[in-house]
C-alpha cells in the first residue's frame, strides 16, 4: 500500500525519493528557530543543494538528515527509513563529509582509508585503498601524515572517506569552504564524477556559483526557512531579472536613438541596457541593434545568475557565507 506524505505543500508517494522532509523544525531555548518548518524531497541520483548564508539553518538541517542531530518536530525519511527511529539500519548506505572536516592527524591517507573501511565493515585490499586515493588525486600523498596535508587535500581525503562504503546517499557539508579556486574546481569534478556513478549528493554551500554549477535542485535557506526551491534555471527564470544586452557608454544619445526605433531600453550610469524576456530572443535583438547606428565602447550580454536571484530574494549580497547588508 502506498503511503502519502506532504512535501512542500504537495503529496508525494513515500519511497519515491531518497530523502523526504516534511515540516522539519529544530528549536533551541529560549526562542531560537534554527530550522523553521522546512519541507522538501530529493529524488534519487541528483545533486541537491541547500544554499544560504551562515546561520541559515543548512548544517542543522543536513545534520538531522545525517542522524547527527535530533529534530524538535517533523517527519524525515532517509532511504525509505524513519530517520528519527531507525538510522542505524541505513548507516552503511550513507556517506558524510561533515562541516569543517578534520582528518585524524596522525594517520596517513592509506591508513585512514583502511581504517574507515573497517568501520563500515567493508573489505578493501591495499590496491583498492590506493585506487580510492587515486580517485581523489591523493595517491602521491598516501604516506604523508594527514596533519601535513593542505586544506584541499584534507577535504579530498574527507570525500574519499565518505565514499569508502560506496554510499547511495552522500552528504557534503560545505566541502569547498576556504579552499583556493583550483582546489574548489578539483572537488567540483569529484562531486560530478560521484553523481555520474548514481550517488545522490546533498550539498550545502554558501557559494552561489558552486550551487549553480553542480546542483540539479537548489533550496535557498534563510533564517531557518526555505525561501525558494527549484533547479538553478527555474530559480533564475522565476526570481531573476531578464537577460540583458549592455551597450557600454552609449549614453543618453544611445537611449534616445533606441527609443526612436521602438526598442525599450534603460540607462544605468552611462550604459544603456536592453532587456529581453527570453534568451532565445537575443539573436534577433543583436541583429536589430547592429542595424542601428549607436555609438558605444563595447556590447555584452548580462546573463542572470543565482547571485542575482539571491540578491533579489534576500536583498543583500553574500561573501564567504556572510550577508553584506
Amino acid at each position: 500500500m502506498l503511503k502519502l506524505i506532504r512535501v512542500g505543500g504537495e503529496e508525494v508517494v513515500a519511497g519515491s525519493s531518497v530523502v523526504e522532509v516534511s515540516e522539519l523544525r529544530k528549536e533551541y531555548p529560549p526562542d531560537v528557530k534554527a530550522v523553521d518548518g522546512v519541507s522538501f524531497s530529493i529524488p534519487k541520483g541528483i545533486v541537491f543543494s541547500l544554499l544560504g548564508p551562515n546561520g541559515a539553518g543548512k548544517t542543522t538541517t543536513v545534520e538531522i538528515l545525517e542522524g547527527l542531530r535530533t529534530p524538535t518536530s517533523g517527519q524525515i525519511r532517509v532511504l525509505d527509513v524513519d530517520a528519527a527511529r531507525d538510522y542505524s539500519s541505513i548507516r552503511k548506505r550513507i556517506g558524510v563529509l561533515p562541516q569543517n572536516f578534520e582528518p585524524f592527524d596522525l594517520l596517513n591517507p592509506i591508513e585512514a582509508i583502511a581504517y574507515w573501511a573497517d568501520l563500515f565493515e567493508v573489505s578493501m585490499s591495499k590496491k583498492e585503498v590506493e585506487s580510492r586515493l587515486d580517485q581523489v588525486g591523493l595517491l602521491h600523498r598516501k604516506s604523508i601524515m594527514s596533519k601535513n596535508l593542505s586544506g584541499g587535500e584534507k577535504r579530498k581525503l574527507g570525500i574519499a572517506l565518505s565514499l569508502v562504503n560506496d554510499p547511495e546517499l552522500l552528504f557534503l557539508d560545505e566541502p569547498t569552504t576556504g579552499l583556493d579556486p583550483r582546489a574548489r574546481r578539483d572537488l567540483w569534478k569529484l562531486i560530478e564524477d560521484t553523481k555520474k556513478k548514481g550517488t545522490t549528493v546533498v550539498l550545502t554551500t554558501h557559494y552561489l556559483d558552486e550551487a549553480e554549477k553542480l546542483a540539479d535542485d537548489v533550496a535557498i535557506m534563510h533564517k531557518g526557512k526555505i525561501i525558494a526551491h527549484g533547479s538553478p534555471s527555474q530559480l533564475i527564470k522565476k526570481y531573476g531579472k531578464k537577460t540583458a544586452i549592455v551597450l557600454v557608454d552609449a549614453g543618453p544619445e544611445g537611449l534616445k536613438e533606441l527609443s526612436r526605433r521602438g526598442i525599450q531600453a534603460a540607462k544605468h550610469d552611462n550604459d544603456v541596457i536592453v532587456e529581453v524576456s527570453d534568451p532565445s530572443e537575443l539573436r534577433v535583438m543583436f541583429a536589430k541593434l547592429s542595424s542601428i547606428e549607436v555609438k558605444y565602447k563595447e556590447m555584452y550580454t548580462r546573463r542572470q545568475t543565482l547571485e542575482d536571484v539571491f540578491l533579489g530574494l534576500i536583498g543583500a549580497k553574500m561573501e564567504e557565507g556572510v550577508l553584506q547588508e
Binding site: L68, R69, L119
Partner: protein, 361 residues
C-alpha cells in the same frame, strides 16, 4: 579486519606517534620508579634519624624496633624514659620521633589494639615515608605475633611475609596510580579532544558504536599498561633489587583496573567539552585519589573522615588488591578487591556508554 580491533590498532598508532603519549606510556612510569627507588636507596648507611622512646618493658616493642632497624631506612637512637616526649621533641626540634607506650606489649598479649605515636612534621616527605615504613614494620610484627591480625592502631596493616624494602611497599600503589593516570586522565582528554576536533561527529557517521569505541580504548590501554609496567618492573628489579613480585593476579588487577578507569575517564569525558576542562575534571577527582587512595602510604592512621573518603575512591580498591597480591600474597583478599573494581568498572562502562553522546544537541 574486525572494527573494534581496527579501531584499537589505529587509535594506538596515533597515540604512540605523539611524543606525549609515548612519554606517559613508557618514560613516565620508569622515571617515577627510578626516582622513588633512588630516594630510598641513596640514603644507605646514612638512614633517617629516628629517636625512639620506649616505655614498654615487654618483648614486642623491642621486636618492632629491631624490625625498623632491619629496614635499613632508619638510624635508631633512644630517648630517655625520664623525659616527656612531646616536650623533648619540641626542645630538640625533632622532625621525627617514635613513642611506644608502656602498655604496648600487654595490649598485644591481651589481643587489644596497641598504639604507637610518630612525632614529626607531616608536611615533610621523610615523615610520610617513615609512616609507610613504620606501617610496614607494624604489619610484620603483627604477622609474627598474631599470625595476621591487626595489632597497632596507627598504620594497621596485613603484615609482610618477608623483609621488604620501602620501595617494595610503594610498588603496588605506584602501579595503581599509573593505571589511574594513564587510563582515566588519558581517556578524559581523548574524549575532549575528539569532541572539540569533531572526531566524535565523524565516528558517528560510521557503524562504530560508542561501546565498541570504549572497548577498543580499554584494549589499547590494557596492552599498553601491561607492557609499560613489565618494562618498569624489569628496570626496577635490576636497579633496586626489588623483592615484591608481579603475580598473575596483579596483571588481572591491572587489566580490570584499566577497564574501570578507562570507563570512568569516558564518563568524565561526557562533562569535559574541551582539553582544558578535561584537565580540570580529571584533576578534581584524580588528585585527591593520588594522595588519599593509599598509593604512597597507608591510611589507617588517617582521620576517620579521610578513611571514609578513601573508601569511596575506586583507586583504593585497586591499590588494596595490588598490595594484597604483590606484597602479602593474600589472593583471597585481592579477589574481593578485584570484584569491587570489576563491578565499579561495569557501572562506569554502562553509564559512560549511555551518557556519552556523539550527536550534536
Amino acid at each position: 579486519m574486525n572494527k573494534i580491533l581496527s579501531d584499537t590498532i589505529n587509535f594506538g598508532r596515533q597515540y604512540l606517534r605523539t611524543k606525549v603519549g609515548a612519554f606517559f606510556a613508557f618514560v613516565f612510569p620508569i622515571l617515577l620508579i627510578v626516582l622513588f627507588g633512588a630516594v630510598f636507596t641513596s640514603g644507605e648507611g646514612t638512614g633517617v634519624s629516628l629517636p625512639v622512646q620506649n616505655l614498654d618493658s615487654g618483648p614486642y616493642s623491642q621486636v618492632l624496633i629491631d624490625i625498623l632497624e632491619q629496614t635499613g631506612y632508619f638510624d635508631i637512637s633512644n630517648i630517655s624514659t625520664d623525659v616527656v616526649i612531646s616536650e623533648y621533641v619540641d626542645d630538640k626540634s625533632l622532625t621525627l620521633a617514635l613513642f611506644i607506650p608502656d602498655d604496648f606489649s600487654s595490649d598485644i598479649s591481651s589481643n587489644q589494639t596497641a598504639t604507637v605515636r610518630l612525632y614529626g612534621d607531616p608536611t615533610k616527605s621523610s615523615y610520610m615515608v617513615s609512616m609507610v615504613v613504620l606501617s610496614a614494620a607494624l604489619d610484620q610484627l603483627g604477622y609474627s605475633v598474631s599470625g595476621g591480625a591487626p595489632i597497632a592502631d596507627i598504620e594497621q596493616k596485613s603484615p609482610g611475609s618477608k623483609v621488604l624494602e620501602p620501595y617494595d611497599f610503594l610498588l603496588p600503589g605506584f602501579v595503581g596510580l599509573t593505571v589511574m593516570v594513564s587510563a582515566m586522565y588519558f581517556m578524559t582528554a581523548t574524549c575532549a579532544e575528539h569532541r572539540s576536533r569533531g572526531y566524535f561527529k565523524l565516528l558517528a557517521t560510521t557503524t562504530l558504536k560508542k561501546s565498541e569505541w570504549l572497548t577498543s580504548k580499554f584494549l589499547f590501554n590494557s596492552a599498553m599498561l601491561i607492557v609499560s609496567l613489565l618494562l618498569t618492573f624489569i628496570i626496577a628489579k635490576t636497579m633496586f633489587d626489588l623483592k615484591a613480585s608481579i603475580t598473575p593476579m596483579s596483571l588481572v588487577m591491572v587489566v580490570v583496573g584499566t577497564f574501570m578507569f578507562t570507563s570512568l575517564g569516558m564518563l568524565f569525558g561526557t562533562i569535559a567539552k574541551d582539553p582544558e576542562s578535561a584537565s580540570a575534571v580529571s584533576n578534581i577527582v584524580g588528585f585527591p585519589m593520588m594522595f588519599l587512595a593509599g598509593s604512597f602510604w597507608d591510611l589507617s592512621a588517617a582521620p576517620f573522615y579521610l578513611q571514609a573518603i578513601a573508601m569511596a575512591m575506586p583507586l583504593t580498591y585497586l591499590n588494596n588488591g595490588l598490595r594484597d597480591t604483590m606484597i602479602y600474597g593474600n589472593e583471597a583478599s585481592a579477589a574481593v578487591n578485584l570484584v569491587i573494581v570489576l563491578v565499579l568498572g561495569a557501572i562506569f562502562f554502562v553509564l559512560a556508554s549511555r551518557l556519552m553522546s556523539w550527536k550534536e544537541k
